[in-house]
């Protein structure tokens, strides 16, 4: 297997008395979409900022595209793209102007028009950014992150504040980038977002990795009991079972036609996630700046 895009061994970072990241080990493979989940104060932002070369670590080894981000040369920034939580200070310019000046910083940038089209901004290309909607601004942030043709893209809580349709559109854009072979590291608070986009999910809390798996298998979801639920004599009934198929067959035999209001569910990613982090979430930890 090829060298991972991101390799973290024993990463630690302390602010005063607070251990924000506490011996974190993690690999992100080339070409995958990796979602980093965790409660506020878990160390997500600190970890990502170390990877982006914005923050120095206290201990551990970090390699991003084969280079230590701490003191990495400018040439290293040619290969990574960062979608910041918000790009302020652009109100007076147009998307085309900002993309053009940003593209000039890179040796092999994408065409500005191509980026505008991919991010759905071609109609707003020559309008002032102050007039863009929240979703359009976020797409501009992504446009700025990808105009340099990065091998690795950092996406920090990309769809916070989006309406459902805007999120679906945005997810399409991210999947499109991933299909080009761009490695993507995503942090998010939305479990459905991780489930839709990520090949693998890492859950961190208190600066440590709690679980690492595909969204479908995280925390043993696949092997957990399913809940079969239906309506009978006007009453909602449900049962938990390890063999939902057998239960369905039995139900099908009892009812003449369709089983009313039938559902079969397994624990959602959100249920699994909340169960994983429950021991680490206290009133205090939510107050600590990440």
């Amino acid at each position: 297997m090829s060298e991972p895009a991101i390799r973290i061994r024993g990463l630690s970072k302390t602010y005063g008395q607070h251990r924000a990241v506490d011996g974190l080990d993690l690999d992100v493979r080339c070409g995958e979409v990796f979602a980093l989940l965790g409660p506020n104060g878990a160390g997500k932002t600190t970890t990502v900022e170390v990877l982006e070369g914005f923050r120095d670590r206290d201990a551990g080894e970090v390699s991003v595209l084969g280079t230590d981000p701490q003191g990495a040369p400018l040439a290293w920034r040619e290969r990574i793209g960062i979608v910041l939580q918000s790009s302020g200070g652009l109100d007076l310019l147009t998307p085309r102007e900002v993309l053009r000046t940003t593209a000039r910083c890179y040796r092999q940038p994408r065409e500005v028009d191509e980026v505008l089209t991919r991010t759905g901004l071609q109609e707003k290309a020559d309008e002032r950014i102050s007039g863009l909607s929240g979703g359009q601004r976020r797409r501009l942030d992504v446009a700025l992150g990808i105009v340099g043709r990065p091998e690795l893209l950092f996406l920090d809580e990309p769809t916070t504040g989006f309406d459902p349709q805007a999120r679906r559109d945005f997810w399409g854009l991210i999947r499109d980038l991933a299909s080009d072979g761009t490695t993507i590291l995503l942090t998010t608070h939305y479990l459905d977002e991780a489930e839709h986009l990520a090949d693998r999910v890492g859950v961190i809390a208190a600066g440590r990795l709690l679980a690492l798996d595909t969204p479908a298998a995280l925390g043993g979801r696949q092997s957990q009991e399913a809940t079969v639920s239906w309506e009978e004599d006007g009453v909602r009934r449900s049962l938990r079972t390890a063999t939902p198929t057998a239960e369905l067959l039995a139900l099908a035999a009892r009812f003449p036609g369709e089983v009313p209001e039938l559902t079969v569910t397994r624990p959602s990613l959100e249920d699994t996630y909340l169960a994983l982090i429950a021991p680490h979430v206290s009133g205090e930890s939510a107050q600590v700046p990440a």
Binding site: F54, L84, S87, G89, E97, T101, T102, R104, C105
Partner: protein, 264 residues
């Protein structure tokens, strides 16, 4: 692209943003021109012998000096503090753009706006209020040298000053002290009307020296006797401004932060 070309590109972007921000254009670019016009009209009656000294000529050096301060120091302090807070600096830092290109863009912005402002002041003064242009090559040379050193000092000091505050309060932190400095440096009132001890205070800051250098350019030679030292002190003026520019550069380089306080 090489660093110089990127610096030029940044200059174009900076000029676009500057010209689209009406407040900046008004309060830093047009303000001295407007004040010169106002003062020349309001105080015209108090200058009886207009051939020797008109109101326009009297206020011209101060307005040129104020313009230098506004387009360099004020513009830099306000814009860099804002860009640090709104994430512009972090965004630029996340690209392979060499940091020097950012500063070249700022220098380019200040150079273009301050030179255009100076030329506009000279033209408005000459055509509108009969302020004579500097006579003789030496005066033009002094004008160029004082202007250039003043702009460089104002730029680096402004960038350093931006680190003192956040975008929310930088306006007050810049404009308040600057207003005081402009009064005690003899920009809005005659230098000889400022009490001696205040003149000593003003002499610690560069604005007084820019204004003095500009008086030596625009005033009749015999008015040199009204200066503190009884002469224009051109050599000392240039030396003080050069020292401020050099010290400011050191301060600017050693205090500059790409990220707002408390984030990284």
């Amino acid at each position: 692209m090489n660093t110089l070309a990127l610096g030029l590109d940044r200059t174009v972007v900076e000029l676009k943003m500057y010209s689209r921000e009406k407040e900046a254009v008004f309060f830093s670019f047009l303000f001295p021109i407007l004040l010169l016009s106002l003062f020349a009209v309001i105080f015209s009656g108090q200058f009886e012998d207009a051939d020797a000294m008109s109101a326009g000529r009297f206020f011209m050096p101060g307005m040129v000096a104020a313009g230098v301060l506004l387009t360099s120091f004020q513009t830099m302090a306000l814009s860099v503090a804002t860009e640090r807070d709104d994430g512009t600096l972090k965004r630029l830092r996340s690209t392979p753009m060499p940091p020097v290109a950012y500063f070249l863009g700022k220098v380019g912005l200040v150079a273009v706006t301050s030179v255009v402002q100076l030329v506009t002041l000279l033209v408005v003064g000459r055509l509108g209020f009969d302020v004579p242009l500097p006579d003789g090559g030496r005066r033009w040379l002094v004008l160029a040298a004082v202007f250039a050193l003043g702009v460089v000092a104002g730029t680096v000091l402004g960038i350093a000053y931006s680190s003192l505050s956040t975008a929310r309060s930088i306006g007050a932190v810049v404009i308040g002290p600057m207003l005081v400095l402009q009064f005690i440096s003899g920009v809005y009132i005659g230098w000889q009307d400022v009490p001696d001890w205040l003149r000593q205070v003003a002499a610690l800051f560069p604005l007084k020296w820019i204004a003095q250098g500009m008086r030596s350019v625009f005033y009749p030679q015999e008015m040199a006797s009204l200066e503190m030292a009884g002469s224009w002190e051109t050599g000392r003026t240039l030396l003080v401004l050069a020292a401020w520019a050099a010290g400011g550069l050191v301060l600017c380089v050693s205090t500059f932060r790409w990220f707002k306080r408390g984030t990284v």
